[in-house]
């Protein structure tokens, strides 16, 4: 029954590795997001997709590549992981613009790069 689910919840990996975080929503929403929460708890938007099309692409390294195979999924792939990538990554979704509709968040994926 989870509305927005992301896997894995915890990921510990070495520098230089490539990893993916998957996200799925069963709310029928047309817009999905990836946020990064750093050690200071600030949440920063990374990407936003609407109907599988990229609509927000903040200044993030090219090592981060989102992929949306369909409206219900938005996966995040990270190449050549660096220590500074350690953070909690949140997937979220909304129906239409987040400006006017509630965003639903997943439980977060805690990435630790060692």
């Amino acid at each position: 029954d989870t509305a927005v689910s992301q896997t894995p919840k915890y990921l510990v990996t070495q520098m230089g590795n490539d990893k993916s975080i998957k996200c799925e929503q069963n709310l029928g929403h047309d817009t999905m997001y990836w946020y990064k929460q750093d050690s200071k708890k600030f949440l920063k938007i990374m990407f936003s997709y609407n109907n599988k099309e990229l609509i927000i692409n903040e200044t993030v390294p090219n090592r981060f590549s989102p992929k949306s195979p369909d409206k219900a999924h938005l996966n995040l792939h990270i190449n050549s992981l660096e220590l500074g990538d350690s953070a909690v990554y949140f997937c979220a979704s909304s129906q239409g613009s987040a400006a006017r509709n509630t965003i639903y968040f997943g439980e977060g994926s805690w990435l630790t790069v060692v």
Binding site: L43, I45, A99, T102, F105, E107, W110
Partner: protein, 113 residues
């Protein structure tokens, strides 16, 4: 630049008492939305309450209510009859014209039994 400020890094309240978390924001827009989110130890972000700027009436959700002062750009959250399950990080957030959520730094709420 649009910003959200939560000046209280940590607040504590006795169980069953009332606590108010403060939030101020800065924007030049006239139509926007404000949110309070709760992040318990499970780390999930849970929407607590939402306020549309064009509405003068303060939003309420059961024990949670806001004091929205548009002219002062203030958006405080009041939690009545605090319960142990209310313990969490609380984030104030604002939607900007690019449809991005601008977040405050968060306030850690501790409930004393």
């Amino acid at each position: 630049a649009q910003t959200v400020t939560q000046s209280q890094p940590e607040m504590s309240v006795q169980e069953a008492e009332t606590v108010t978390l403060s939030c101020t924001y800065d924007t030049s827009e006239s139509d926007y939305y404000l949110f309070w989110y709760k992040q318990p130890p499970s780390r999930q972000m849970i929407l607590v309450i939402r306020q549309e700027a064009y509405k003068q009436q303060n939003a309420t959700e059961n024990r949670f209510s806001v004091n929205f002062q548009k002219a002062a750009k203030s958006f405080s959250l009041k939690i009545s009859d605090s319960q142990l399950g209310d313990a969490a990080m609380y984030f104030c957030a604002f939607i900007d014209s690019n449809y991005q959520l601008i977040w405050g730094a968060g306030t850690k709420l501790i409930i004393k039994p």
